[in-house]
């Protein structure tokens, strides 16, 4: 919704569109002449005369806006550089579930940039363009416009419904993994994740376990069950799957999958006490044979 129709911005009634306008359109109540009932000074809404800039105060605002824009742009540029870097960055997705999340992210990002540029641009345009030019100008008294208001109620609703559906159809996969009927699910590996202050323990299907570092086979959906032995922790490997809480007394389920061999980072995201920042996770995605050998050599 970048701009308003001309009939609103200029207060021109259009056939069939009810615009609620005060009776004293165009009259300036603020000039002494108007209060005294004398001739009314020309105003912008009258259309003819636009006051020249009389002092530097106006350009000062435009200049500051430009400075702010440049600063914001610089901040965005500085910020954007490392956005795709690092091994804890979910935009750098390492497997099918995170690729799905990245697809949803991209749709949301495009929509929100369109809205930000459109609406934010319209706000900035209005803020700069409609500055007061003369002390006694009086704009049209537009109280509203039902048609426009309905449009900017329904329009966002339609977009949001689409975004809702995009999520709703994917969320089952993100939480539970591929459906049990698919061939991929048959070779699923189940790993029990246990959090405690302040480290993680990973129990493999053969009953052996590792601390802090988890090894999983590549291209295999890994079914995760999480629980905690003390407070709430959060199990999160950004590039391999959706995060899930590790709760005391309740078992949660999630799934991971990596489609490339490598080392992926993560850490506890649910505040759990003085060692919260030390509760790191390292996940090594390795070929199946290496995984099998690894879990055979762990302690029980």
């Amino acid at each position: 919704m970048p701009t308003l129709p001309a009939h609103i911005s200029q207060g021109i009634p259009r056939p069939g569109v009810a615009i609620k306008i005060d009776s004293e359109i165009g009259r300036s109540a603020y000039s002494p002449a108007a209060v005294a009932g004398g001739p009314v000074a020309p105003t912008r809404s009258g259309g003819a005369v636009r006051e020249k800039r009389l002092n530097s105060g106006r350009s000062w605002i435009g200049g500051k806006l430009a400075v702010a824009g440049v600063a914001a742009g610089l901040a965005a540029a500085v910020g954007a550089l490392p956005v795709f870097a690092g091994n804890t960055n979910f935009l750098n997705g390492g497997g099918p579930p995170v690729n799905t999340i990245d697809m949803i992210w991209t749709v949301f990002l495009i929509c929100s940039i369109v809205v930000l540029v459109g609406v934010g641009g319209a706000i900035l345009y209005a803020a700069i363009h409609f500055r007061r030019r003369s002390p006694d100008e009086m704009p049209k008294q537009v109280h509203g416009n039902n048609r426009v208001e309905l449009a900017w109620t329904i329009g966002p609703l339609v977009v949001l419904v689409a975004l809702f559906v995009l999520n709703a159809v994917n969320v089952g996969y993100l939480r539970h993994g591929p459906s049990p009927a698919s061939p991929a699910a048959r070779q699923e590996v189940h790993i029990k994740v246990v959090g405690r202050q302040f480290y993680w323990t990973f129990y493999y299907p053969n009953g052996k376990y590792s601390l802090r570092t988890l090894e999983i086979p590549v291209n295999v959906p890994i079914e995760i069950s999480t629980e905690s032995l003390d407070v709430i922790h959060g199990f999160w490997v950004p590039q391999l799957g959706a995060k899930i809480d590790a709760l005391p007394g309740i078992v949660n389920h999630a799934f991971l999958e990596g489609s490339q061999v490598g080392t992926f980072g993560g850490q506890c995201y649910e505040f759990c006490g003085v060692g919260h920042d030390q509760m790191l996770i390292t996940v090594k995605v390795v070929p199946m044979a290496q995984y099998q050998s690894y879990i055979q050599h762990l302690t029980t």
Partner: protein, 552 residues
Amino acid sequence: MAAAELPLTRPVPRSYQAVWEWVTTTDHKRIGLLYLYTTFVFFLIGGLMALLLRTQLAQPNNDLLTASQYNQLFTMHGTTMIFLFVVPVWSAFGNYMLPLMIGAKDMAFPRINAFAFWLIPLGGLVMYSGFFFGGSAAAGWTGYVPLTEKLYSPQVGQDLWILGLHILGIASVMGAVNFLVTIHRMRAPGMTWFRLPLFVWAMEVTSALVLLASPFLAAALAMVLLDRQLGTNFFNPSGGGNVILYQLIFWFYSHPAVYIMVLPGFGVISEILPVFTRKPIFGYRAMAMSMAAIGVLGFMVFGHHMFTVGMPLPVQIFFMGATMVIAVPTGVKIFNWLGTMWGGSIRYSAAMLFAVGFILMFLIGGLDGVFLASLGIDYEINGTYWVVAHIHYVLVGGSLFALFAGLYYWWPKMFGRYLNERLGKWHFWLLIIGFNLTFMPMHFLGVMGMPRRIATYGPSTGWGPLNLLETIGSYIIAVAIMIFLYNVAISLHGPKTAVNDPWEGNSLEWFATSPPPPQNFDRELPPVESNRPLRDYRLSGKPINPPGAALP
């Protein structure tokens, strides 16, 4: 009436007599000022905590603060800013302006009003006293169980935190009842519901939310306290308790609390824009109804704070849908503010600058919130710095900008003096630049995998440069706030030159003198025949300001 015999302003308190007058006052204006002073002191304390936190995070593996100190500070920063600053600060404007705006002499229950105020510093002191008894609460402002149980947080500071919040909750509820009764029973003749100033509408919806939601916070906290002190097992898994129950009850309060913190800001902006654009608010009814809709929907979205706790998928999908729906009335408000500015005659006093800044920053806060509403994206960014960015765009870019807009706007009415406009503009530009430098990079850090509430991070994470940028931004914010304090200081030492109506206001508070006398109005109120009664009065050619008065 006694008003005519009393002096319009009382002397600055210099003796115990004057102090006693302030302590025992039941005048809504003085109580409003007490709210303002008190909450602003808490704002400065919370801000200093934030500077310490940001300094600690400026570089990887920093050891300025220990993890224990960091945890206490971020917990008390959040608690202070939310429960001791943003929630009660709206009672400052609510108390001072709401009776004036509806043409009333005082609040409905002046003594309850005074009592509710004095609970605020008491609650704050109880909460802070934990620092002197082995450490304050350190489990975050959300206080999730079982971290707050005795086993994991043995310090008495956690109990004091709960008791302090209880006291503040009682104050909120008493204030809310007072606002509701005042709005319902004490409006001037002719002031129908659709002629109410939108700030009053905002306080109506806010007060209803406080009244309905606060008992849930009290219940959740009471259960934690019973667990801690009497050994009950509400939230203790080994005794059959459920840790998720706390989150459900807590967020049933704390999501509406987000709207308790920002709706009055919506009201302030909706007051300021028409005055400084010389236009009526665009779509008055939609503005009022969208606030009511946000109030109702605000109770249906609390589950979106819990997308990673393992709720059944249909429940998660419901909360995602409800959360996205609440973006619609919020969007209506932004569009209608744009519609108000469009074609207007915009005068940039500092109040208007802050109002435009509010709309832009709140737009960003709304958009990054939609990312969090999305289940798929939330599975990644929940619990990261993205959430920290979002809450600060809503509560700083939203509530704080609206608060400063309101302060520059109503300052002449409250203190009879103007704030310096040039300093106000410096304040605005430094604040908006510092604010964006501090909180915009947090979005990127969230994407890069930085969890919130970590006391430090390793150099290999790559989070260092952005954190340094944020810390620099936070110091720019501090400079902006210091400029504001300097502005306040020189304003309060200047002569009282403010006229009744410095901004060509629309609502009745500008009809009273600046500041208003006890009982508020020393002459007959103008008739209320629209939602801009004072404008009608001015257009009828009657003077509001004395002739030859100084305007800002």
